[in-house]
Amino acid sequence: MLGTGLLQGLAVTARNFLGSFYDRRRFVTTQYPEQRTALPEAYRNFPFLVCESADDPMGTLRCVACQICEKECPPQCIYIEKSKDKKPDANGKPQIYPAVFDIDTAVCMSCQICVEVCPFDAIKMDQVFELAATDRFGALLMDRHALAKPNSYFQSIHPTEAGEVDSRLLAARLAAEEKARTAAAAKAAPKPAAPKPPAAPSAEAPKPSPPLA
């Protein structure tokens, strides 16, 4: 009979109307500024630079300004200038560092390719998405000071990935120490052992990260 389909539809909407008062599966709204959904660990937004220590972020950047990410970035939103001098990194080994490291977040498309290609685990994806600004030139262009965030922060937002990275870096450092120790032992037995490594893991052994060639 004409109208049965319409009545069926009305029944569905009535059910949804009532369901929205007690059924969380139907009533799915999150009241955003007050309530927030938990971001999944994999969530990515814009890149940040990992440094070892929050006290001296510029001194402990993992980045060595190798410019691979700059070349690979599809929308080319990264701009890097290498330093003229070398500065001791966290391990005390002199390294080139990025004198300028800018990411234009107005251009960045959050594709994560910079993270995948970085051999030093120096750039990672952040989860901060409330970046609205009133100035679209200055405020969205992030320099290295704005980009640097400590490893502990990385641990807090991507625990699984950070754990992998840390254990990998630790293994690399131990292997390097072992190598240095054997080399030192072989070279000069009477000399005292190599100086104690610093607490933070070293980034001295450039090693391709496993997932990507």
């Binding site: 004409l2 109208g3 049965t4 389909g5 319409l6 069926q8 539809g9 029944a11 569905v12 909407t13 059910r15 949804n16 139907r26 799915v28 999944p40 660990e41 994999a42 969530y43 990515r44 691979i68 690979e72 970035c73 599809p74 498309m109 959050s110 594709c111 994560q112 390719i113 995948e116 290609v117 994806m125 496993p210 997932p211 990507l212 060639a213």
Partner: protein, 390 residues
Amino acid sequence: MNPSGLPPLASLPGPQIRAVHDELHGDLLELSMGPHHPSTHGVFRMVVTLDGETVVKLKPVFGYLHRNHEKIAEGASYLGSMPYTDRLDYLCSMTNNWSYALAVERLAGQAVSERAEYVRVILAELTRLLNHTCLAGFLLQDGGASGTPLMYAFREREKILDLFESLSGSRMMCNYQRFGGCRADPSPAWLDSARALVDGYGRFLDEYEALLTGNEILMARTQGIGRLSPQLAVSAGVTGPMLRAAGVGYDIRKVDGYGFYPRFTFRVPIGADGDTYDRYMVRILEMRESIGILRQALRDIPAGPILDPKAKQRGLRPKAGEVYSRIEGPKGEIGFFLISDGGPNPYRYRVRPPSLINLTILEDMCLGQSIADSVVILGSVDIVLGEVDR
């Protein structure tokens, strides 16, 4: 595809009505719908010539969203184009990724791990659910329902997008497939939540159909409207649900058997009339088949590596050669044509966008229908302007 039994192209009926402009009285009304119009699905423009409310001429105008995708890709590395494919059909980044990855894999001779093939099927079918659900919502929105079907569609779509987000880190711009596999391995917990979603999806579809399929107004608005003959569909290169709704049982999942699709049992629904209602119903039925595929894939997915660690992503320089890959995307045949000259970036990069090619016959479907129908017909074509304009 062998269009056996179909008459040759020359015998096709042309568009039935042509505009005859009456100079003296201006009988016809030319209406420029778009590029800013509530129901042109983005910055699309239809220059419609109306006689009363009947469409006598319709000129689609597009290109407002052209972003030079193909040329950019020819200057970028093979990996660097992957995130751009997300932005073609931004509802279906997973299938776009897959088709592009397939092209590069064929060009580079890269094998894909078994687990990755399963994951690709799962994600492609989830994308199909997502796309078709949204389409039904949009279609009804164009038909004048005040948002309710669209909101239900979006409620379910959010659940799929949550899955995508927890796997790939982004809801719509997944950038997930890699040459030789996938970027991240789905955890057992992820697979469990996917199973839960698939189990609940049938119930949602039942409710959705109760709301819409039997609705007399929907039937009156869509049945017999915007008919597409199988001959015209085949000769215009229409693919996907639109082609199947026109009565041609052509599904690349069956025809090519790419990926692991031959391992799954599923059916391909086809319509008889080729009208808007068939295009809607074929998509609903396809969703039910997708649920079946997902059940099988989620049951059988093997353990193993998701990505061959030796598979080269960065600095890929495939041997000189050309390749065309295609998969059955939710909107139709999404294909990538690549020519390599041995360099780090493709010499030629070309997308076969199903949205654009399905859109080319819009005028043929709309002629003689009313202006309100043409909006619904456009909705049933299922376009995304990101893919039409590239």
